[in-house]
């Protein structure tokens, strides 16, 4: 027995229209004005994270850190430094056990030693102690000629219930709190402790070789050293005279100002003006950023800086002028860069003329005069 179903052709248009209509109607949803009543929102949302750093906490990542040099113990593997770490190692045993070593610098006191050590104690299931009691548990070690405190914490990891051990070391050095930490299973960390202490003794801080790169967690920034004005500049109302032929264009979030200069045959150069609080990471770090990241040149050392830069008279003081030639990392074209760094109380101004070598050469003097006319 079979039943055949054939629709009369008169029903087709109705079916089709009904389908298309329903599809079209449902497809139009979500674009109308909505009205709703909701509980009032608290206006404190934005301030929550702003106050999160301890009072007086200096900015994170804005300081030029000295470069660390060490002797890697046998059996340790250097791992990729991630997030806030400047160095990272791991130790693996044949039976799959692992330990992690990290080095993290944080500006200022980073919330205080007691807070940090008690947080570590919590990670191995130990109760918090008062600062006085903690001092008694600290072992003294020496890192690069200065005293540091080592906390040897042994207990059970609350998450796994396994025996765990932390060797945490804190050293305060030139306004930075350095954290050296080894974490892992009880037995492995205990066995590695002599090597960890040897590693600490091998550490050296090379202040002269400031980082040529931005800190690892730095957000991408276009242009040269970048900044927003500080309170003093807001009050000081700096002014300048823009030379004829310079065209001001939006500089983006971080530049104070940006100008373009057109040369012959489509050649171009640009002037970027930016400002940083403090020393902006230091002269060497900024010049090396121009050299390495923007012009593909090798980094300079302090001695090169002294040899290759020259002093320039400006309104109410002196600035440092540097001239560089290389290949523009963004365009692959030959480029010339004239940079002027103006240190002022509590802030540093950066002026950069960069672009086609001919255009830069033709406007170099004009650029210098422009910097000299700025009244802060």
């Amino acid at each position: 027995m079979s039943l055949s179903l054939h629709l009369s052709s008169g029903r087709w248009p109705r079916l089709l229209v009904a389908f298309l209509l329903s599809t079209a109607l449902t497809g139009c949803g979500g674009d109308e004005i909505k009205v709703y009543r909701v509980p009032k929102e608290k206006a404190t949302e934005v301030a929550v994270q702003a106050g999160a750093l301890p009072e007086g906490h200096p900015e994170i990542g804005g300081l030029a850190q000295p470069r660390l040099v060490w002797k890697k113990p046998e059996g340790w593997n250097e791992a990729k430094a991630s997030e806030m770490r400047v160095a990272s190692f791991n130790v693996k045993t044949a039976d799959g056990k692992q330990a992690d070593v990290s080095i993290i610098p944080l500006p200022g006191t980073a919330g205080g030693d007691a807070t940090n050590v008690n947080r570590w104690r919590g990670q191995v299931g130990l109760a918090s102690l008062s600062p006085e009691e903690l001092k008694k548990t600290a072992e003294a070690v020496e890192i690069a000629g200065q005293r540091a405190e080592l906390y040897d914490l042994s207990g059970q990891a609350p998450s796994t219930g396994e025996a765990a051990r932390i060797l945490g070391v804190i050293q305060h050095r030139d306004g930075t709190a350095w954290f050296f930490k080894m974490t892992g299973g009880e037995a492995l960390v205990a066995a590695e402790k002599p090597r960890f202490v040897e590693f600490l003794k091998s550490l050296q801080f090379q202040v002269a070789e400031a980082q040529p790169q931005l800190p690892p967690a730095h957000p991408p920034i276009s242009g040269t050293a970048t900044a927003a004005p500080t309170a003093s500049s807001l009050d000081g109302k700096p002014t300048w005279q823009v030379p004829a032929g310079w065209r001001e264009i939006p500089g983006g979030e971080f530049l104070v100002a940006k100008f373009t200069i057109a040369g012959e045959g489509g050649a171009q150069a640009a002037v970027n003006v930016s400002m940083s609080g403090g020393d902006g990471g230091g002269l060497l770090a900024n010049v090396n950023r121009w050299r390495v990241q923007q012009l593909g040149l090798p980094a300079w050392y302090d001695a090169d800086l002294k040899k290759e830069t020259r002093s320039m008279e400006i309104e109410g003081g002196k600035a440092v002028l540097v001239e560089l030639s290389g290949t523009d990392a963004r365009t692959g074209q030959l480029a010339r860069l004239v940079g002027v760094v103006v240190p002022r109380t509590g802030q540093t101004w950066f002026y950069k003329l960069m672009g086609d070598p001919k255009v830069v050469a033709g406007h170099k003097d004009e650029f210098a005069r422009f910097v000299q006319t700025v009244k802060y």
């Binding site: 109308e32 004005i33 009205v35 909701v38 009032k40 934005v46 994270q49 806030m84 919330g111 930016s274």
Partner: protein, 418 residues
């Protein structure tokens, strides 16, 4: 004529042609993602009836293609029509009928998912309570006024409607909103004193401290377009001035990013001061009633609230490899009196009120604690009423094919024995 139409819509040739177009569309739409960006390409090629002009390996070609909606709809019509036309009831045909029904269910289910599903994100800091989640990309112009002692009334105009020259009137608003200009993506720069020789966009509100510029649409998956609109509020009597409403100032996460950028270069105090100016509320007053407004991520409100009690980011012992992201939340529903704690972690979402809350992002763990930040968590909130249809569709197709196969097998074996 009608018979011819029926013949076309029930023909197998149409199925083949549509599937061929489908292959071309998927290929072209996938290649275009490199130039147009994932979301724009998905929207333009697959969520449209027709595609005018395609981008092919960086070249813009003046080609028209049927869009995903058109192909899907025609395939569905074709399948249903053929099914109805050739329908014959009988045990021998049961397998085929079921398999076709399953495919129809899959197509309808996909259409339902596309039209009815919603994905939003709920971000909260530890200790914070929220009863809404936000669109990851869409914005809305929210005009907010007091409704009662502890209630506010929100009139939300979808960001997609904010186009140059548009006008909005609403019974709950005693003024008209005119869009003088609108950019789908924009850039922002702080108006340092040295730059103030160029006039601000307007002399009201946030525009006094910031310049906003039009920017090209982003094609990167990691970035999103941040819109800005220049608005004029007009009552029948007078204009209430021109204002700038921008996604830069209406989104807590964006403000936090701007602050972080300035914090590194200008110090925390200046960064906080800039962020404060950016986050400052903007409002107009009409007949004694205050209306604050912001171009903020589109919101979806719930009848219940979630409080983030604890955000845990644990790592494998002795490594910094993430092991577990886990949010402990308190769920409170005043209507049902429910008040309970729930743990949300990978593969263990919270399903409640027709919504599914998945663990999505997290800013917690030792690094966050060391830096003195408050731990936070983000949950992906998915509403998909059609989520069961693919399962049901596949099951019915499998059942149909199984029956079909078994019917033939049994018949074959019986014939061989005979």
């Amino acid at each position: 004529m009608l018979n011819r139409l029926v013949k076309i819509f029930t023909s197998l040739r149409l199925t083949v042609v549509l599937l061929a177009f489908g292959i071309v569309l998927v290929f072209v739409g996938t290649v275009a993602q490199a130039d147009e960006g994932l979301y724009q390409a998905q929207f333009r090629y697959f969520k449209h009836w027709l595609v005018w002009g395609i981008t092919f390996f960086g070249h813009r070609l003046p080609v028209a293609l049927p869009g995903g909606y058109l192909l899907g709809t025609l395939l569905l019509i074709n399948l249903v029509a053929a099914h109805v036309q050739r329908f014959e009831w009988g045990w021998k045909k049961l397998g085929i009928q079921l398999a076709h029904t399953g495919v129809i269910l899959l197509l309808v289910g996909q259409l339902a998912t596309d039209l009815l599903s919603h994905e939003t994100v709920l971000r909260f800091l530890e200790g914070e309570t929220k009863s809404y989640s936000e669109s990851p990309r869409g914005y809305e112009l929210a005009l907010v006024s007091d409704a009662a002692a502890d209630l506010e009334e929100v009139v939300a105009i979808p960001g997609r409607l904010m186009t140059k020259g548009a006008e909005f009137k609403h019974a709950n608003l005693p003024f008209t909103v005119r869009v003088a200009d609108a950019w789908r993506n924009s850039e922002i720069s702080f108006r340092a004193p040295m730059q103030e020789h160029a006039a601000p966009l307007t002399t009201n509100g946030v525009a006094r401290h910031f310049d906003f510029h039009h920017a090209a649409d982003t094609s990167s998956m990691d970035e999103k377009d941040i819109p800005t609109a220049i608005l004029e509020f007009v009552t029948p009597e007078r204009s209430l001035g021109t204002w700038v409403a921008s996604g830069w100032s209406g989104d807590r996460e964006t403000i936090a990013n701007v602050r972080e950028g300035y914090r590194r270069r200008a110090g925390p105090q200046m960064a906080d001061s800039i962020a404060e100016k950016l986050a400052a509320s903007q409002a107009i007053t009409v007949a004694g009633k205050v209306f604050s407004f912001a171009l903020r991520p589109g919101r979806v409100y719930y009848r219940f609230s979630l409080t983030l009690l604890n955000a845990t980011h644990s790592v494998y012992a002795g490594t910094d490899i993430p092991k577990d992201f886990r949010s402990r939340v308190r769920l409170q529903n005043p209507q049902t009196g429910e008040d309970r704690e729930v743990e949300i972690y990978m593969n263990s979402p919270l399903r409640y009120g027709g919504l599914t809350f998945y663990q999505y992002q997290m800013d917690a763990g030792e690094t966050v604690a060391s830096a003195g930040r408050v731990p936070s968590s983000a949950l992906q909130v998915v509403r998909n009423p059609g989520w069961l249809t693919p399962y049901a569709g596949c099951f019915i197709v499998a059942l149909g094919l199984g029956i079909q196969f078994m019917t033939h097998l049994v018949g074959f074996v019986s014939r061989k024995r005979a």
